[in-house]
Amino acid sequence: MVDRISEEIAEVLEAVWTLEEEDTATIRNVADNAPVEVSKDLIARLSSEGLIMVDEQEHVHLLPKGRLLAEKIIRRHRLAERLICDVLGARVEDSEAAACEYEHVLAEGITNSICTLLGHPRFCPHNKPIPEGDCCRSARDEVEPIVVSCDQLRVGESARVAYFSAREHSRLLKLSALGISPGITIKLIQKWPAYVVQCEETEIALEPEVAHNIYVWRTPAE
């Protein structure tokens, strides 16, 4: 029974957070967007627990305690999406449902490990910001190399290939036949109208989507 309630609460908090990003967190919208039934009771319970506050225009606001909770849920959800899209190669649309399952079962420690594995990503596949965790903050302080998508490199920057998130295996083969494979250092030399990377002495043009799906270890600036 306790779990059931917390899951309901989690879903509402998640919906409020997401709507707040778009500045449209009204009770109506929250009820429409949360995957659980949002009864007056539920809202009242959240308010009484000091998680949210509803103003006269029926706008829902997260209170500090609720924000803290929501941040963790959102972080788990969006990290899970990244994991499913980037590493497992699922489509963005499919990642949503699976991520919903993940967000309830991931423990804090595991969340941070996933975050580190993915190179402390800052945005989910839908391009919404992922709240930072402790691991992100300490990583930034220690300037450890982080994994970014190849299209996030600066022009002229070199980086070591970490992994591809290719749906088709054929792309992997094509890239590795041209010399781009995990462990190899590539240099981004152009972003527009097509991406161009240099690998050994070969220049290779890539369409944006391909460049986006090559993940590289960015070496910290010396």
């Binding site: 295996h169 590795s176 036949a177 109208p193 002495e201 070969t202 890539l206 391909v210």
Partner: protein, 753 residues
């Protein structure tokens, strides 16, 4: 696979990455000329040649480039099949010395075949320039093969290569050591075949290739490998992935130890001659732009001023000498249009000296002398901000050369003077009036129409286009065009790679249709062929149309280009959605800019022209003959041609408001598109078309059916059914667009003068 000894002729197969110079090595060995380009994937057909060496004879086979022997495209498959079917006695791997890792990937795959092998590190000069040093001795030791360093285009290293061919050695496979300890490698012990490769083939959907290996083995080895692959393919772990890991470990260690990188030598130069040439190029470009702007804004241009002065003086000299009005005058000076002389030899020389030469000569000298310049040019041409202005410049230069020198001056000299003044009158004067004279020199005569169009109009245009295209191709400029156009091509369901067939289509649609083979998916080949057939006018047609357009305002030309281009994008967009699927991904290697080799460009142009003369001229004659017969045969007092014109008149006159003669021209258009355009040219010159009709008829003939030759090529590439479907779509579509355009022009009363 053990090589079959005892054959009198030994088979040598050339294998290697795309654009590393296999075809140049092929030429070096056999003396046979194959078209080579600075564009990956030029060799789509397999060439064979003979080599005699100290009494031994060899058959050398050139193959399409591969990036890996695990094939990803059809031409890569072709190469694998050749290796399996031909059972070569010797494999020569040709490689770009600059890219050692990619080279050794293929070496490690080829080594598995156990066939004697040589590794040719070509373009060693480019590697040296970039400060790359390669320890070829240690590569030779690792694989136990001979490694030869060459610069094939200068024949450097040829003798060493010939020596190596006479004493080849069997490679060993270092993968077996680098994968030592792996259960996978151990379990394959004792199987001599390319076992690891067949695992990868199996895993990547090339089971037939793997089967070919298995069936060629001894019974025990075959059952061992077969069982093994069977058991592994049921397992959870992908064995191909393990093979790839072992390979990549080998490559990492060997590249790290065999390749050293020092500072590149680009920075060492900064000489005066380079600076002077750069200034000359800048000046030449300004002069060129000034001349180009002249036509648009009615400014006096250097070309016009000089041309008037020189030609005018010469004209007076000739007239004083009593040679005025003669052939000599029209050959030298062309037409005198109110003091402006055009389309003669003298104005053409001035045109070349003042427009083309000031840009091309410093550019060519810089490319051949300054490595830094070439390197920077390579960068500037692929960036949007600099690349697009450069592209516009290239197109304008192309127009000046093909559209002016080719389609105006040379056509005037060939058609008007050679055929119009000499050949046709001569034939008429020799032959007595009658059937033969009509057949050869009548209205639809084989000489007066067929040869005049083929040699007089089309040959100069295709000739100049082929020269320009070969230059562009060998310079490595075209792949940069792919980068610039990728996003546009994507709208049409293609990717940047499709730019080569499209550009080639402006030369010859038939050749372009054949070259769609470089595209990686069937759906892209279909879309590209459809678009080529629909709306890419070939140079011959384009040249003729530019000639017609020259008589009307630039608004007419722009309208035609605008309508055709928008239809191309529209049809590409819709058809790609109808066919479904996505454009295949654009992952494309860009070769460096290189100086085109004069001999190669000349030979290439010559081969292409030969091809034109052999393929196209007979079709021209056939087309004329068909027209002649249709015109000569009468039924109910009217010729068949007239009946045909009458039959389609409702469409031609009713829908498109064109004179009924245009019907015959559209019929001609099917035999050769340019042939149709040439007929249009005649109509326009005789004042039978007004501005609106010119625009409508040019749009229709551009969109109209591809010529007979390219239609035959479409059948060959896509099958009869699809070819008919393509034609069945294009004909009504072209008429529909013409109809709508005509309606719009008339409704809004848009005039072209």
């Amino acid at each position: 696979m053990v090589s079959e000894s005892g054959r009198s002729t030994k088979t040598v197969v050339l294998v290697g990455n795309p654009n590393v110079g296999k075809s140049v090595i092929f030429r070096l060995l056999t003396g046979n000329y194959v078209l080579v380009s600075n564009f990956p994937g030029t060799t789509v057909e397999v060439s064979r040649g003979k080599l005699q060496l100290n009494g031994a004879s060899y058959e050398v086979i050139d193959t399409p480039g591969v990036n890996s022997l695990v094939p990803q495209s059809e031409d890569e498959r072709v190469t694998c099949e050749i290796l399996l079917k031909e059972k070569p006695d010797l494999i020569i791997q040709v490689a770009d010395a600059k890219n050692l890792r990619r080279t050794l990937l293929i070496t490690s795959q080829l080594a598995e075949f156990g066939i004697p092998m040589i590794l040719v590190l070509n373009m060693i000069d480019e590697a040296e320039e970039r400060g790359i040093e390669i320890d070829s001795k240690r590569i030779a030791e690792l694989f136990s093969i001979s490694v030869v360093e060459t610069v094939a285009i200068y024949s450097r290293g040829r003798r060493q290569l010939l020596n190596a061919i006479q004493a080849p050695s069997c490679p060993r496979n270092p993968l077996r050591e680098s994968g030592a300890g792996s259960r996978l490698i151990e379990s394959l012990d004792g199987i001599g075949a390319p076992a690891l490769l067949s695992i990868e083939w199996m895993a990547e959907g090339n089971g037939d290739l793997a089967q070919a290996i298995i069936s060629s083995l001894s019974p025990e080895a075959s059952s061992k490998l077969g069982n093994w692959i069977g058991s592994y393919s049921n397992g959870r772990r992908n064995p191909a992935r393990e093979v790839a890991e072992i390979r990549s470990r080998l490559l990492d260690t060997s590249v790290a130890s065999f390749k050293k990188k020092r500072k590149s030598r680009f920075t060492e130069e900064g000489s005066w001659s380079r600076k002077i040439l750069l200034w000359l190029l800048a000046g030449g470009t300004l002069l060129f732009l000034w001349n180009e702007a002249g036509g648009l804004f009615n400014i006096r241009t250097p070309f016009e001023v000089v041309s008037r002065a020189v030609s005018g003086r010469l004209d007076r000299l000739l007239t004083d000498a009593g040679l005025g009005g003669g052939i000599l005058q029209s050959v030298l000076l062309g037409k005198n249009d109110g003091g402006r002389y055009e389309y003669g030899i003298i104005p053409e020389v001035i045109h070349f000296l003042l427009l083309i030469a000031p840009v091309i000569i410093p550019l060519g000298m810089l490319i051949s002398r300054s490595r830094t310049f070439v390197y920077e040019l390579g960068i500037l041409t692929r960036r949007a901000l600099t690349g697009i202005p450069i592209l516009i410049g290239v197109l304008l230069l192309l127009y000046e050369f093909v559209g002016y020198t080719g389609a105006q001056t040379l056509v005037a000299l060939f058609e008007d003077i050679l055929f119009g003044e000499y050949v046709v009158p001569l034939v008429r004067s020799i032959l007595p009036a009658g059937f033969i004279s009509e057949l050869l020199a009548g209205e639809y005569g084989l000489i007066s129409m067929g040869l005049t169009y083929a040699i007089g109009i089309v040959l100069p245009v295709v000739g100049t286009f082929f020269i320009a295209f070969s230059l562009l191709e060998d310079s490595g400029y075209l792949p940069r065009l792919s980068i610039l156009s990728d996003r546009l091509m994507r709208i049409m369901g293609l990717n940047g790679k499709a730019v080569l067939p499209m550009v080639l289509g402006f030369g010859c649609g038939t050749m372009a249709t054949m070259s769609t083979r470089i595209l990686s998916s069937k759906r892209e080949r279909l879309i590209a062929i459809l678009l080529l057939a629909l709306g890419i006018p070939c140079s011959a047609q384009l040249g003729v149309m530019l000639g017609i357009a020259a008589g009307f305002s630039q608004k007419a030309t722009l309208t035609v280009i605008g309508v055709v281009a928008s239809q191309l994008v529209l049809v590409g967009f819709i058809s790609s959605r109808l066919i479904g699927g996505r454009p295949s991904e654009f992952i494309f290697e860009i070769p460096p800019i290189r100086r085109p080799q004069f001999k190669n460009v000349a030979l290439k142009t010559w081969y292409r022209l030969q091809w034109y003369l052999k393929e196209a001229v007979p079709l021209f004659l056939l087309g004329t003959l068909v027209l002649f017969v249709l015109d000569a045969l009468h039924f109910n007092g009217l010729s068949f041609l007239k009946w045909f014109e009458r039959g389609v008149a409702p469409i031609i006159s009713g829908l498109l408001d064109l004179p009924s003669e245009a019907a015959g021209i559209f019929l001609l258009g099917f035999l050769r598109r340019d042939y149709g355009a040439a007929g249009l040219y005649d109509l326009a010159r005789n004042g039978l078309l007004n501005g609106q009709q010119v625009v409508v008829s040019m749009v229709v003939i551009t969109l109209f059916v591809p010529c007979l030759a390219s239609f035959l090529m479409i059948i060959k590439e896509q099958g009869l059914k699809r070819a008919l479907a393509i034609a069945g779509f294009i004909v009504p579509f072209a008429l529909l667009v013409g109809y709508v355009l005509n309606l719009v022009l008339r409704t809004f009363n848009i005039q072209f003068t």
